[in-house]
Symmetry: C2
Subunit: 390 residues, 2 copies
């Protein structure tokens, strides 16, 4: 049995980045860049007006004749005398002869001429060519997360394809003779199988859209055979159930017989203690406890960071939140506790119903309060650190 901090460390150390792939920028949200991107163009590609107004050459004059128009999309390089200006619109090309744009609000205009009421500074309202980025400058370093803004920036430079780390293919293997699919009739002694659909939803929050679910009977032979197939095809395997100490738990044995290397088994925590973590080549195997709330806890603590790490993300843990406790919290068992909690702008409340079988509490929680194994109690009003799970 190892401590939680060590277990987290081992998971991180073994979560190797996925191979790279080319992907359309359109579909790249949530992926991580695997290459440094240089700008193929100057942005803006020409001197651009930042305002609707009039372009002219800055001087002591306040009156100018209007000799043309430049709309966004135009590229007529109108020749201007020092006494002349053109009507110009936001985003439009500024002719080479003009150096300044005056906002239309600061001008008295008739059809043929303007009188500038408030003279702007020289060069005002003209965006220099390449102001935002020059050709061949670095757009993004490798390992940048692709956000909506990053997609917009790549697109505005005309970039349509980038190289990113692939998302891991994930399989969920469900064991347990007691399990019945929701929607079917619940016979005596059976319960509905809910972990696979719950874990699939959890994976979706990290952008893993499709997860294959396999079901096997609760015996060594079936489990071993299924694992043999699955280990060939997937980058991350979640096994639900069958990992505690009972005689009827064959999962660990089936893993070892498939040459999966044990990296740890059992963590000094509550809930979620009976967890196995192993690897075979670069594939990671998490055998999670069958209890739904334990399973989901370990999903958030171990699996989600591993998924993010394999996707190339550098920030694989959610930013912690600090809040004041609304009640005392005791830890009498010397294990790390993960307590379902709900925080608001200032406080955090540890919820009733922390049993490892209970999902209802989890469904109303927005965070886990982590009480390390060496902390015996927190007191009401104390600031504590939370892991958000929303």
């Amino acid at each position: 049995m190892i401590e939680v901090s060590k277990a987290i460390e081992i998971v991180e150390a073994n979560s190797i980045k996925m191979p790279v792939q080319k992907i359309s920028v359109k579909k790249a949200l949530g992926y991580v860049l695997a290459e440094k991107i240089l700008s193929p163009i100057d942005m803006p590609p020409f001197r651009q007006s930042a305002m609707d107004g009039y372009a002219f050459t800055h001087s002591i004059r306040h009156q100018y004749d209007i000799v043309g128009t430049s709309q966004a999309g135009d590229h007529s390089n109108i020749k201007l005398k020092p006494t002349e200006a053109i009507r110009i619109y936001t985003g439009a090309f500024v002719p080479d002869d003009a150096d300044t744009v005056v906002m239309q609000e600061n001008v008295m205009a008739n059809e043929d001429s303007i009188l500038i009421a408030t003279m702007p500074e020289k060069l005002a309202n003209v965006r220099p060519k390449g102001e935002q980025i020059a050709k061949d400058d670095v757009v993004f370093e490798a390992n940048t997360l692709i956000t909506p803004a990053a997609i917009g920036f790549l697109a505005c430079l005309g970039i349509t394809e980038i190289e990113v780390y692939k998302k891991p293919k994930v399989a969920i293997l469900v064991t347990g003779n007691e399990l019945v699919a929701p929607g079917k009739k619940l016979k005596k002694g059976k319960i509905f199988e809910s972990n696979s659909i719950m874990l699939q939803a959890g994976l979706k929050t990290a952008g893993i859209e499709k997860t294959k679910v396999y079901r096997v009977k609760d015996n060594l032979k079936s489990t071993k055979k299924a694992l043999k197939e699955i280990l060939k095809k997937y980058d991350i395997i979640l096994i639900s159930g069958g990992i505690s100490v009972g005689d009827y738990d064959f999962v660990k044995e089936a893993l070892l017989q498939n040459d999966v290397k044990e990296l740890f088994y059992k963590v000094n925590q509550k809930p979620g203690k009976p967890m196995f973590f192993g690897s075979k080549k670069e594939t990671l195997i998490f055998a999670l406890p069958g209890n739904p709330a334990s399973s989901l806890t370990n999903f958030y603590i171990y699996v989600l960071p591993a998924v993010k790490s394999r996707m190339g993300l550098s920030e694989i843990h959610k930013t912690k939140v600090i809040r004041k406790l609304t009640s005392d919290v005791k830890n009498t068992i010397g294990k790390t506790l993960f307590l379902k909690a709900k925080y608001d702008e200032t406080n955090v409340t540890v919820l009733d119903g922390q049993s490892s079988a209970m999902l209802n509490t989890f469904a109303v929680a927005n965070s886990l309060l982590i009480v390390p194994e060496n902390i015996e109690n927190y007191v009401k009003g104390q600031s504590v650190t939370l892991l958000p799970i929303d």
Copy 2:
């Protein structure tokens, strides 16, 4: 022109919940419940062992004969004498004659009998029927957000279908003769169109997967005609570009001629001032500025909360984050400023490059620092409130 706080209020007041639909629990992640859900079963449906161990009737005896086995999934209601116990596994049915389970770690066992070394309390390790939830008790109130845990809880009760608020159908209308699709050749005076792909990515972060993009020429007739069609089919319409004061901006006119009610036009903010917000029946229309960074700012401040509100979410704004400023911030213009910023565990840095055309800053920011119009300066070290945008 109105203040930001008023604009936010108007958007909220007009963002009416979508109609409801039945949906498979499997696909319900991120949706909001439109009905109260009652449990169709007791959970657990029978008295369940919480441990691997032995079930017996609690007494002063420490020695028991083993007369059978109950595995998870079994339902053999073995008769037990006071001197008898059965081998039992986590999740398995506890026979009516037993009231207590002793963990196997606390027992010395041979094939036929056990000696309990550490006697548990009476009723220990037995989960009562209906402990988590009883039949007909409330599972979730209406308006609950469907998280992975909620999906797990619904599934474990055998629920496969729920009633939720629909997601809004969103269209993006792009105007601007200066725009060229990324991947095409960039002619002089033109720029690449990036707002639609950026806004689509932003909508994806709220679970709006498919967004139709329409493109029209920069004139009243085309814009009016396109809007007529789009207004019939969509719940939210984003218009990109064409809303500032220039003569060539036809969007507002096209909206009004299509009987869109103006709710506000122009907000006292920087960037993002030239924005129009209106409605026609329950459809919301946001005409966003053409500048990419302005467009994305207003997307986060106004559009995303409206989308969430229409989906039935009660928390439509991200939880604010409070951090210490690494530099002074001045607001000399009497407008609300939205400054691209990056925060870590303790501090926040306002980034260089706040121009409304610049997306590169946005791509490395993880938050917006909101400086209200009536605040003239924040000083280095001061705690300020941020809107996270990750």
